[in-house]
Amino acid sequence: MPEPTAQLDPDLDLLHQARGGDFAAFEHLVRRHQASVYRLGLRITGHVADAEDVVQETFLSAMEHLSDFAGRSLLSTWLLRIATHASLKILRKRKTQAQPVDPRDNPLSADGEPLPHPQFVAPWKERPEQLAMQSETRSLLEQAIHELEEKYRLIFLLRDVEHLSTEQAADILGITIANAKVRLMRARLLLRERLTRHFGDYERLMPHVHEDSVTNSSSGASKMQRSNA
């Protein structure tokens, strides 16, 4: 996905006014972006009070560094970058011990590691648009995303919810693009598994899927080993 540098930033006029000392223009920018910054902060930290700190920290930092914003990304992307770092700072403070290094994150092996294989495969009973209208769906979505490990939650939020490019998300998280892609796919597969167990049609459950046969080098035929056991 290309960087959105060629896009005209809808915030540019307000940004110029704010840089010229117009607080009302800055406030306007805050109102425009506060909800998405809050949502991201809440989803990363999982706590309302922490999400409030993220919002405050993000806009204070943006205010103090308005002149540093070089326009290489959209202003909204820049704010999400600040918000992600503010959220991560809160998470780091919360942690009493360092996270063990996950060997799957070794950049050298990032592309070679197997992804979690889909276990529960069934078409959903309803379309996503219909499910989105149901009140219980939101809490399920929130619950599912909070069950994800932090590193998967972060990449999914930045890529699939906030629509940053893989390059931007990798840059914000300080990981390689290859790692970002693998983490994103893991995140999507884990969420798919969770949501499909809830929304899937149990009467149309697909055959159980097992690991691909590495030794089977024949082409053409389906390479999936299945078992109804």
């Binding site: 409030e52 078409p123 648009e129 989105a132 798919r192």
Partner: protein
Amino acid sequence: MTCQELLLSMGQYIESQSPAAQADRAQCQALMEHLADCPTCRVVVDNLRGTIALYNHDQPLALPPGFEIKLRQCLQERWKQLHAKANMKKAPNGSR
């Protein structure tokens, strides 16, 4: 292409309803051949698209009302401090 390879390479394919990814669709030939032959992967791809779509239906959350007022005050105070400093630099003789 194996199912595992498909899972690794379908990142852009499942996003391909968005215009930005259209250019990459030409690279999806092997993937589509696998999908034509593998109903389980077709459902997995459809589930994945549904998963992303559901999170995209989500509306931004409103700030807690009490907090919004506090935020405005905090930002306004800091703005005044920053601009007072900037004005002092511009007018070192105290003519502000």
